[in-house]
């Protein structure tokens, strides 16, 4: 039988950057097909070329037997392709209902929207994903996770032949991931094909039939999932030998944990107006302290408080034994604190500025002689970091928006390392970052620590915490409820600690009710 989608030899160039070069992808009707590759491999670009966001520079695409060239996403949608793009494409000021039904609203006489029916439909679709919320409220009032689920709800509610999901799980917790898988299976039963992009390889084994691997904008291989081992996938993605991969741990933290130095930072029962009730933690020099917790447990809020973004409503902080109460980010930076924020696009990069300008933004005072910036010193410093962190750029004056996510993240990491902070707070430093870059970032963190730096590491990946952290502080609903120390930290102790925090009643409309967080591998859960 002829495949549902067949992409052959597609290439696409953005200015100097060749994003796709001989990309191929074949999807059969009714299969769940994974697309994997490193950051910047071209996955999202391929999807956007397919759905008419970008126009391809060459190659052939056939969908449902027809050669196609969509010039707008609307055309792809009409042809039967529903897409959840990587950057959430939703309108925050509009209600949840509208974000789901917009474009095919139920109508009443005279063409007016039948709001009652629309709300009802939206609620039902969301209920199918295990979400029960007030669909009349503006979407922006809900968490990223809910927003992601709304995007999914929008896509699956269309009668599409192909549903594309570009990293749909990057901000979901495991219960939601499981719900999503349930939905994907239902789609599959209905005969709908799904294209699934994710950096969490374990998910693929759970849900996909087939996998296509891309590297540097080009097709590398495709396999039936049943025939393949994870190590082979990783090797294909990175372009390395399988044996290399297998001898190596999955994170680059590993190694001996050296004993930590003297106490650097301490927070006692801190609370803010923003969902942080009471958190206590200590960080020593040369120590990595992990912050674990479910989605919405308040980890980011701890980071915000320490970095001076939110004022404390209660509690104390001290730095090097002295009382520490920053009033804004600059104050915190002056005292040697750095925060790599969670939302790279909104809170990290200044898209139109160059890599150089982004990298040195936080250390300009020390790079200036008088009013003038010492551009010689600046270039040297930037060169040093590009080299040390192996940032892939065409030149340091390239606008940062042209870089792939992983490389942008490295530039931001360099921005903060350049401030030579005493305490480096990392909020999900490897989210949305591919395995290769992830390991490099982890290595950089480790090097920084080895030189006596202190790290507060927020991560949803247990392996990262277990292998990297000296101690892990467990957060739950805005409170620190436990501290676990390494060695002796295992996934099961962490899961146990997280589940201890679960209260029997939860008043909020939608809080994570599950007892484990991802990415404890779904495979193991099944077994």
């Amino acid at each position: 039988m002829q495949p549902l989608l067949n992409i052959q030899g597609v290439h696409k160039q953005f200015g100097k950057t060749l994003a796709l070069e001989d990309a191929r992808l074949t999807i059969q009707r009714g299969e769940v097909h994974a697309l994997i590759g490193q950051n910047g491999a071209g996955k999202s670009t391929l999807i956007k070329v397919l759905t008419g966001v970008h126009q391809r520079d060459g190659g052939d695409i056939t969908f449902n037997g027809q050669p196609c060239q969509f010039s707008r996403p609307a055309q792809a949608q009409d042809a039967g392709i529903a897409t959840i793009y990587q950057e959430l494409n939703l309108v925050g000021l509009r209600s949840v209902t509208e974000n789901i039904v917009m474009g095919r609203e139920p109508r009443r006489l005279g063409g007016f929207i039948d709001w009652k029916l629309a709300h009802q439909q939206a609620s039902e679709i969301l209920a199918g994903l295990g979400v029960n919320i007030d669909v009349r409220r503006p979407l922006e009032e809900y968490s990223t996770a809910i927003q992601q689920l709304v995007a999914i709800a929008r896509a699956v509610s269309r009668d599409a032949m192909l549903v594309i999901m570009d990293e749909p799980t990057s901000s979901l917790d495991e219960s939601e991931v499981l719900q999503l898988f349930e939905v994907i299976r239902r789609l599959q039963q209905r005969g709908t094909a799904v294209l699934y992009v994710s950096h969490f390889l374990d998910e693929l084994f759970e849900i996909c039939n087939h996998v296509t691997i891309m590297r540097n904008g080009a097709w590398v291989a495709d396999h039936a999932i049943s025939d393949i081992r994870k190590a082979v996938l990783v090797a294909d993605m990175l372009g390395k030998d399988v044996s290399d991969i297998e001898t190596h741990g999955s994170t680059d933290f590993g190694g001996e944990l050296e004993p930590a130095g003297e106490l650097l930072f301490e927070a006692r029962d801190i609370a803010t107006r923003r969902h942080l009730r009471s958190a206590s933690l200590e960080v020593h020099r040369g120590e990595i302290v992990g912050l674990a917790g479910l989605l919405g447990s308040g980890r980011t809020e701890v980071a915000r408080a320490v970095f001076g973004m939110d004022a404390l409503s209660d509690g104390q902080m001290s730095l090097e034994g002295a009382s520490y109460h920053p009033t804004n980010a600059s104050a915190a930076i002056r005292q040697g604190i750095a925060l790599l924020a969670e939302d790279r696009k909104r809170e990290g990069i200044v898209a139109d500025l160059s890599v150089r300008e982004n990298l040195t933004l936080s250390i300009l005072p020390s790079l200036s002689a008088g009013v003038q910036i010492d551009s010689e010193a600046e270039r040297k410093l930037v060169e040093h970091y590009i080299e040390a962190l192996q940032i892939k750029v065409s030149d340091m004056d390239q606008p940062i928006r042209e870089l792939s996510g992983g490389n942008q993240q490295k530039v931001l990491l360099a921005r903060w390392l350049a401030t030579e902070p005493q305490l480096l707070i990392l909020d999900e430093p490897t989210r949305g970052v591919d395995i290769g870059a992830r390991q490099e970032i982890q290595r950089i963190i480790q090097d920084y620590r080895a030189q006596g730096g202190a790290v507060l590491l927020i991560s949803s990946e247990f392996e990262e915490l277990i292998e990297g952290a000296h101690r892990v502080v467990v957060m739950h609903e805005g409170r620190s409820i436990d501290t676990l120390s390494n060695p002796g930290l295992t996934e099961s102790t962490l899961v146990a600690a997280l589940s201890r925090g679960q209260p029997s009643t939860s008043g909020d409309d939608h809080r994570m009710q599950e007892t484990s967080a991802r990415p404890s591998t779904p495979r193991e859960t099944q077994a």
Binding site: Q13, G15, K16, T17, L18, A19, E21, G40, N216, G217, F307, M309, N328, A329, S330, I333, R334, L339, A341, R346, E347, G348, I349, V350, A351, D352, L353, R356, E357, L361, S362, L364, P365, S368, V371, Q372, I373, S375, R379, V382, E383, I386, E387, I391, K392, V393, S394, D395, M396, D397, L403, S404, N407, R415
Partner: protein, 332 residues
């Protein structure tokens, strides 16, 4: 990611300049075309006197447009520049025409200039305060002074035209250096300072970052609110200076007319010169060229006897054309 040109992981030194040139070539080409057109069509165009006339007339637009560019770089806009011109322009003669001014002409002229700049600065602080501390949208925040600033100037002068004879102050309008009107030199000086500030100083970097992504800039330790305050203040200061120049040229201050519709000319000059209304760019050279384009269009139409009403239509078409070319080249 793959780069088609040979990958150089460290900075190629020519890159920033070629980028810079590319950005500015659009307005420059437009300006050269206009000059070429005039050389062919307009009588007596290629003369020193024409140059000097155009410099006199472009100076105020260019100065205000540079201030506007600062504000636009932060993602804002300032509608109040014309009103600030009127206010500053009204203050100066008010002071040196007073009885104290008659008795100490030199001192009081200086004081008058300082007072006018001081008032302009206060206007800028007011705008900056509303925008950066209260989070009011720039169009709305500056609309307040747009409406009431000119009214205030007229209240102060009782609506009367103030004519005066004060050679020292008039030098600002009619003085010459090496045969070029003094305000032309002023524009060159200010543009040089502005280019230096934006490309080489911390404030310049902060300005672009604040406009490009205020949230990220804030978190990177950039004092975004202060940068905005400074941008609005400088903009008002420059508008005040332009207001005084225009008063000095005319030897008269007319609160009702001084700087009227200047905000539109200044914004048009900035955008034609390559500024992006969403912020993050401050191409001062381009903006000065943009002002020159606006001025030259006006000159061309007038000198060739195009009636006022037709001139409006032509001017509109040229603004749209220039911005369109700009957007094609900029790729945004």
């Amino acid at each position: 990611m793959k780069i088609t040109t040979p990958t150089a992981s460290s900075g190629a030194t020519t890159a920033p300049w070629s980028r810079y040139r590319l950005r500015h070539s659009g307005p420059l080409i437009a300006l050269l075309l206009l000059i070429g057109f005039n050389a062919l069509i307009t009588p007596n165009f290629l003369s020193m006197q024409t140059l000097s006339v155009n410099i006199t007339q472009v100076a105020t637009i260019a100065i205000v447009a540079m201030g506007m560019t600062l504000v636009i770089a932060t993602g804002g806009i300032d509608l109040s520049v014309g009103a600030v011109m009127a206010l500053a322009g009204a203050i100066v003669p008010l002071i040196f025409l007073s009885s104290a001014g008659q008795s100490f002409p030199v001192l009081m002229t200086l004081i008058a200039v300082m007072a006018a700049l001081g008032i302009a600065m206060m206007c800028g602080l007011f705008n900056g305060m509303l925008v950066s501390r209260f989070g009011v949208q720039p169009i709305v925040a500056t609309l307040i002074l747009f409406i009431s600033g000119r009214g205030l100037a007229q209240v102060l002068t009782n609506g009367n035209l103030q004519t005066f004879d004060n050679p020292m102050f008039e030098y600002l309008g009619s003085g010459r250096l090496l045969g070029i009107p003094i305000q032309g030199w002023l524009v060159v000086l200010l543009a040089a300072i502005a280019v230096f500030v934006v490309s080489r100083t911390r404030f310049g970097r902060y300005l672009l970052a604040s406009g490009g992504n205020p949230r990220a800039a804030e978190l990177a330790g950039v004092p975004v609110a202060r940068v905005r305050m400074i941008a609005y203040t400088l903009c008002a200061l420059l508008a005040g200076l332009a207001g005084m120049i225009s008063v000095a040229i005319n030897s008269a201050s007319d609160a009702a007319r001084n700087g009227q519709l200047m905000e539109l000319d200044a914004i048009a000059a900035a955008v034609v010169g390559g500024a992006l209304l969403q912020g993050g760019r401050a191409p001062f050279i381009g903006v000065v060229i943009g002002a020159a384009i606006i001025q030259l269009v006006r000159y061309t139409l007038l000198a060739n006897g195009v009636p006022d009403e037709v001139a409006l239509i032509v001017k509109a078409a040229i603004i749209v054309g220039a911005v369109y070319l700009q957007s094609l080249r900029g790729g945004h």
